[in-house]
């Protein structure tokens, strides 16, 4: 059973003084997130990622289509009990301390009173919030600390599905690394993780599958390994010996030298000729690597398409 399914999900807002002009935020989105996978929802700023997540979480009513979460409706409290959600740029009751806030959410999520204290301490430790900040009011927290509290409240009640809207936002490189580790840990525990991001390296490092959205429209969806496996027909050749550069340049190529190490990207058909030329120049061959599609290449190619050509 998929953890998340959308069927022709649509959202159109009415804008303007008389609310007469329609503005499409999401066009007929049909996709699914399988149970147990890490799914990345990618798109540039303003693409419709947050709108989609709010629709999934039942915070916004769709103007068309439907959503199934863990096989049921998001309106069902029993389903919501199995979901952990971190909104984009989270804001919490700033009069509460981190521990009070988590206790509040734990109570609302029906975490047994006996277990709460132990689970709160363990979760705050897990998200890397320094212990001396646990009893500090949230109004004194930095953006990064709030993000950690946000992650803590999302996983505190041990949900089956964790939905994170831009979870790395506001974090320094160490924090981002910790969040990536946390997402992997959650996945190893059998939880499904759906997160949105525009940072492609995070998605490439973490996700089993990704969907790309642009201007409110699904542009592509697939397994990350498949999307990045295709060879583009080019090969990168690296060698040591700057003396070979004139010979390679004379073949109409553009080698880049850093010190004594030189690299050039050539078409597959020219690989043998380049290697022969390097041998003749007594250069030391270091590597011959096929150039593969990166997630960034895929992302940009999908966004450049005029209409959706969804690959599943």
């Amino acid at each position: 059973m998929p953890a998340v399914e959308t069927f022709a999900l649509e959202k159109t807002y009415r804008v303007g003084f008389w609310r007469s002009s329609p503005k499409v935020a999401l066009k007929s989105l049909t996709m699914s997130v399988e149970a147990g996978e890490i799914f990345g929802y990618l798109g540039p700023n303003g693409a419709g990622k947050t709108t989609t997540i709010r629709l999934l979480m039942g915070l916004v009513n769709p103007t068309g289509g439907s959503v199934k979460i863990l096989g049921g409706s998001i309106d069902d409290p029993a389903i919501r009990a199995q979901i952990g959600f971190l909104p984009e740029q989270p804001y919490f009751y700033d009069h509460l301390t981190a521990k009070e806030l988590l206790n509040y959410y734990a109570a609302l999520s029906s975490v047994p009173a006996k277990e709460r204290s132990r689970r709160i301490d363990a979760t705050l430790t897990r998200v890397g919030l320094a212990q001396d900040a646990w009893n500090t009011q949230l109004r004194k927290f930095s953006k990064g600390m709030l993000q950690r509290v946000g992650l803590a409240q999302a996983v505190l009640h041990e949900p089956k599905l964790v939905v994170l809207d831009e979870p790395m936002s506001g974090l320094d490189p160490t924090g981002r690394r910790e969040v990536r580790d946390l997402i992997e840990e959650l996945n190893h525990e059998g939880k499904t993780v759906l997160f949105s991001t525009h940072i492609l390296s995070d998605a490439e490092a973490l996700c089993d599958r990704v969907a790309v959205i642009g201007k409110g429209e699904l542009r592509g969806i697939g397994v990350v390994a498949d999307l990045t496996a295709s060879v583009k027909g080019n090969v990168e050749i690296m060698w040591q010996g700057a003396s070979a550069v004139p010979a390679i340049s004379s073949m109409g190529l553009h080698p880049h030298a850093v010190g004594d190490t030189v690299r050039v990207v050539v078409a597959e058909a020219k690989v043998d000729a380049v290697i022969d030329a390097l041998r003749r120049s007594n250069a030391k061959l270091v590597a011959v690597t096929p150039v593969r599609t990166t997630l960034e290449d895929y992302f940009l190619a999908q966004l450049a398409k005029p209409t959706a050509e969804v690959s599943r």
């Binding site: 709010r54 979480m57 039942g58 915070l59 916004v60 009513n61 409290p77 029993a78 919501r80 009990a81 979901i83 959600f85 971190l86 909104p87 740029q89 989270p90 804001y91 919490f92 009751y93 009069h95 509460l96 509040y104 959410y105 109570a107 609302l108 999520s109 029906s110 946000g150 409240q153 999302a154």
Partner: protein, 258 residues
């Protein structure tokens, strides 16, 4: 009360008591009671009457101000600050959230009124050097003030569920002011003709009847409050507030979070 409503109510109460503005209003109300004590000392024969009038009016006005000030932000502030996102994605029904917020503020107002009442009775004791049997009516007047707070909170909650805090504040305060003159509105409805008559009658049912809940002047003169009025006012306040909270829940049920 189910546990989730109780949890939300307690958090609302805790948020209110950690807000410094609340204390400023309570201190100001206690200063007003103190001032009425001084005013009573420079008048002859009506010290008690003056103290009760000014003291209870202070409790009422400042309580209503607190109800409006906090009530208007109960829902809209949570939407603006997006604290609702992490709340509504938990197993909390939207009507439970509204009810929790309502009870939280009503409890806050009751506790505040308790402190102000204590200050008032200390002032009364200082002035009269003791209590008398008719002072029990003062407690009834304060109970009616609490019923007013409950209605104002419910109205603020309705407006807060679909409009901005400023709009909610203006509309709630307008309801309070017009409701305080509801007897005059009913009088106007009786003499008006045509469309004005129907409009005035309609409004007299929509606008809360705060006139009936204000027995301060009567109590100040030492008059007792009838059991029938206590019963009718209780029924009226609970019905009105209950209807308003249901309306707020209905509006909020389908509201999109921005």
């Amino acid at each position: 009360m189910n546990s989730r409503i109780g949890v939300i109510a307690f958090n609302t109460f805790r948020e209110a008591v950690r807000d410094r503005v609340l204390y400023n209003l309570i201190v100001f109300a206690l200063i007003m009671i103190g001032a009425s004590l001084l005013l009573g000392q420079i008048t002859i024969g009506v010290e008690r009457q003056l103290l009760i009038n000014l003291g209870l009016t202070s409790i009422s006005i400042f309580g209503v101000l607190i109800a409006i000030f906090i009530g208007i932000g109960l829902v809209s502030k949570e939407i603006d600050k997006r604290t609702l996102y992490t709340m509504l994605t938990r197993p909390v029904r939207r009507w439970e959230f509204i009810l929790g917020k309502f009870f939280g503020l009503v409890i806050t107002l009751a506790v505040n009124a308790g402190f102000m009442t204590l200050g008032f009775f200390i002032a009364l004791l200082y002035l009269m050097h003791g209590f008398q049997r008719s002072d029990l009516s003062i407690l009834v007047a304060i109970y009616f003030i609490l019923l007013q707070f409950m209605i104002v909170t419910a109205i603020a909650l309705v407006f807060s569920s679909f409009s901005t805090p400023i709009e909610s504040a203006v509309l709630t305060f307008a309801f309070f002011v017009v409701g305080s003159f509801s007897e005059d509105l009913r009088g106007f409805a009786e003499v008006a003709k045509g469309t004005s008559h129907y409009f005035a009658v309609g409004m007299s049912y929509i606008i809360p009847n705060f006139s009936a809940l204000n027995v301060i002047a009567s109590v100040a003169h030492g008059n007792p409050v009838s059991h029938q009025l206590i019963l009718m006012n209780t029924l009226y306040a609970f019905t009105y507030a209950g209807t308003a909270v249901c309306l707020a829940s209905l509006i909020f049920q389908n509201r999109n979070m921005k």
